[in-house]
């Protein structure tokens, strides 16, 4: 088998396609199949979702292979139900359009779905790679222009690496307090 269909490659692009639904990004190259390319700028994949999922501390790494198999199984069933013909060059989940991929994830994470826990965990860590770069030091992430932290507009720390905001308040009274407030500042 050439690398394009090896198990490792299947695993990688399937997980990338999943991560791309959680926070979508732009394609890394014109022939990028994993990323659907429905958004501009980096998404969860560029943010390091795969590094995150392979980080031992998450406790999810050992289960990835099984999740990939299940996800492609669900994609095959979904395609059959909808009469979608899947392109055999890529794993079934990757062969689906973005909206179909998201529809599958929504079903899998619906309360009551028997596999829900696993898909929620996968989603959680993909999102975490984007919104907090938890697979790397926040300072390195900022130095490297981490796409998630950039996208959310995370403020820069001070020179010593700590966050402090000298300007933090409008500094004026903006509402009347509740008339029944006690002298200690609590509700009566």
């Amino acid at each position: 088998m050439h690398s394009g269909t090896s198990d490792e490659h299947v695993k990688t692009i399937t997980l990338e396609a999943f991560a791309d639904c959680i926070v979508p990004g732009e394609k890394r190259s014109p022939d990028d199949r994993a990323i659907a390319g429905v958004s501009t700028g980096g998404g969860a994949v560029q943010a390091g979702a795969l590094e995150m999922l392979h980080h031992d501390a998450t406790g999810i790494t050992a289960g990835l292979e099984a999740l990939v198999g299940m996800l492609n199984g669900h994609a095959t069933t979904y395609a059959a139900d909808k009469g979608i013909t899947l392109d055999g060059d890529v794993p079934p989940f990757v062969a689906l359009e973005f909206d179909d991929r998201c529809a599958i994830i929504r079903t899998l994470t619906t309360p009551g779905h028997p596999e829900k826990d696993g898909w929620v965990l996968l989603s959680l860590f993909c999102n975490m790679a984007f919104d907090s770069a938890a697979h790397m030091s926040t300072h390195d992430a900022i130095a490297q222009g981490h796409p998630g932290l950039l996208t959310i507009g995370f403020e820069l720390p001070q020179d010593d690496g700590l966050w402090r905001f000298a300007d933090f308040s409008y500094g004026r009274q903006l509402a009347k307090p509740h008339p029944d407030t006690t002298p200690s500042g609590s509700p009566a």
Partner: protein
């Protein structure tokens, strides 16, 4: 045979309930050992860093259940280290609540009037301070201005923060790097240690047994300091009395596991759990409208765009804390900051087919993260949480090295709770969507169910043995010498942040617990002066020790 270690008092957990009990019993002369499952961290260890394994995941515990996820502290100081330090008293009507049991849930002996002196004591020790408008972050100011614009009131909330030291860094959940948050490491815990109490971090209590002399044997595991999934040792300690204060997500689990050795538990152990009616809404502020309608201006060209700046919740709307309203229609609405890492995935964007937590619209919403304003609803829920069979150890099957686990709690919100949330959602929308200030959606409950940072009531006090696990002295029914002083003792949702009420109840329970300790032959007295707040320096772990020793 190795000799068995013994102590007068064994305290399980070092959060509010545990620290207050440890202080009074140690100051009164008892030999006190505190077992804490989490590590012992202090300012130098608190990181501004989201990397897994830094303090943000070390001191924090997230247990997903079935319909409810519980977030709490996991370190010496418990929730006080990770919390937001908003410390209001519970309004008078909460003590009169009936919930679904058709009669008052609180013990007759407790009302706001009888609890006020105990609130006073805790407020003095922490100490709780009031905020002026100069202390209010942009997010709090925005919420106040929006409330005012809608004809509502808004209050700066009382806090346990040293305002002079606070940098408004909003890293509250990772522990305060600047010693500004007055956690229990600054007051009750140093007071306890100064009086001889011993705190043992990374000791997770698993089970209690009875000893021949009417006391208790406490079994614990020692936990690896990096990978909490690993047990590195185990042991037992005998004690004349046991104070359970592992938090409302853990105390009932330990007691349920102990049923095999202690005998039958009261029916209410592991039932009547309340998430304090918590629910979050995220508003995306229209910056232009914030300027035009609310007249807000940061002086740097921005009206708001300050989600990241501040110190947790600082302003609350209390208009619905009105005892004349029916139960389940009374709530508070508090502005809040929930950091990245856990604080964006559940927020919903308006998608083509309705609210969505993923996909293109969510990404667009994330681009506007600095214009988010999060509103925290605290409603009256229905005590509908029930704990299933306990996991083999701790209170969850640990998934991740730190922080994340799967626990036995299930929570299926009743129409009362759903109605309360809907009423609070509508009120938030009415305030914030007025004149185009913002668009608002609630966080999804689909992914992890409801969620709470305020677990309560899973082992509650009451007068009725059928619906309460503890008598009004906090003693576990049928198991004399075991007391519960943490959030699990609070009978029901409070409509405000609970830590001050948990603490006031623990203070109130102490004279009775001291008396019971004396009756069990412990040489202890009640009445030591309250600990003085260590103004500059918190409790430091022993110099020879690592975070775990």
């Amino acid at each position: 045979m190795t000799s068995i270690e013994s102590t007068d008092v064994l305290v399980v957990g070092s959060g509010f309930g545990g620290a207050i009990a440890a202080y009074h019993l140690a100051a009164g002369g008892a030999k006190v050992v505190v077992l804490e499952r989490g590590p012992w961290l202090q300012a130098e260890d608190f990181d501004h860093d989201y990397l897994l394994g830094k303090s943000y995941t070390k001191v924090f515990d997230f247990v997903a259940g079935d319909g409810m996820s519980v977030l709490s502290g996991n370190c010496v100081g418990g929730g006080s280290v990770v919390y937001f330090a908003a410390l209001p008293r519970a309004p008078r009507f909460t003590f009169e609540r009936q919930g679904s049991i058709g009669r008052r849930m609180w013990p007759k002996a407790i009302s706001r009037d009888t609890l006020d002196p105990w609130y006073d004591r805790v407020s003095q020790v922490i100490p709780v301070v009031q905020q002026g408008w100069d202390d209010i972050s942009y997010a709090g100011g925005l919420w106040a201005a929006a409330c005012n614009h809608a004809g509502r009131t808004a209050n700066p909330v009382p806090v346990g923060i040293d305002k002079a030291k606070c940098t408004n860094c909003n890293w509250m959940m990772a522990g305060c790097k600047f010693d500004a948050k007055r956690s229990l490491l600054f007051n009750y815990l140093p007071g306890a240690v100064a009086n001889g109490a011993e705190i043992r971090p990374l000791h997770e209590v698993q089970q209690l047994e009875r000893t021949d002399d009417g006391g208790y044997r406490v079994r614990y595991n020692q936990i690896d300091e990096e990978d909490y999934r690993i047990t590195v040792g185990s042991g037992t300690i005998d004690a004349k009395i046991v104070i359970m204060a592992a938090g409302a997500g853990a105390t009932p689990v330990i007691l349920q596991r102990s049923e095999a050795t202690l005998g039958k538990m009261p029916h209410a152990v592991g039932r009547y759990f309340s998430g304090n009616g918590e629910r979050l809404n995220t508003a995306i502020i229209n910056e232009d409208r914030a300027r035009e309608v609310l007249g807000l201006d940061r002086g740097n060209g921005l009206a708001y765009a300050a989600n990241q700046i501040g110190k947790g919740p600082v302003v609350a709307n209390w208009d619905h804390l009105d005892g004349s309203l029916p139960e389940y229609r009374r709530f508070s609405l508090e502005q809040l900051y929930f950091p990245p890492g856990l604080g964006t995935i559940l927020a919903q964007a308006q998608g083509a087919d309705g609210p969505t937590w993923l996909g293109v619209e969510k990404k667009e919403m994330l681009r506007r993260w600095q214009s988010w304003l999060t509103i925290f609803q605290i409603v009256e829920d229905d005590n509908e949480g029930v704990f299933g069979p306990p996991p083999p150890t701790g209170n969850a099957y640990r998934i991740s090295q730190q922080m994340l686990g799967r626990g036995p709690l299930s929570y299926d919100p009743t129409p009362n709770t759903l109605g309360a949330w809907a009423a609070a959602d509508a009120e938030v929308r009415d305030i914030l969507e007025r004149d185009g200030i913002a668009t608002v959606l609630p966080w999804t409950n689909d992914l992890v169910g409801a969620y709470t940072v305020h677990p309560l009531a899973s082992c509650r006090i009451g007068d009725d043995p059928e619906t309460s696990a503890l008598d009004d002295r906090h003693e576990l029914r049928g198991h004399p010498g075991i007391f519960v002083t943490d959030g699990s003792a609070v009978p029901a949702a409070l409509t405000v942040n609970p830590a001050l009420t948990i603490s006031a109840l623990a203070e109130r329970a102490m004279p009775g617990i001291v008396e019971a300790a004396r009756a069990r032959g412990i040489n202890v007295s009640y009445g030591a002066p309250l600990p003085t707040a260590a103004v500059t320096k918190p409790l430091m772990r022993p110099v020879t020790a690592t975070q775990g020793a």
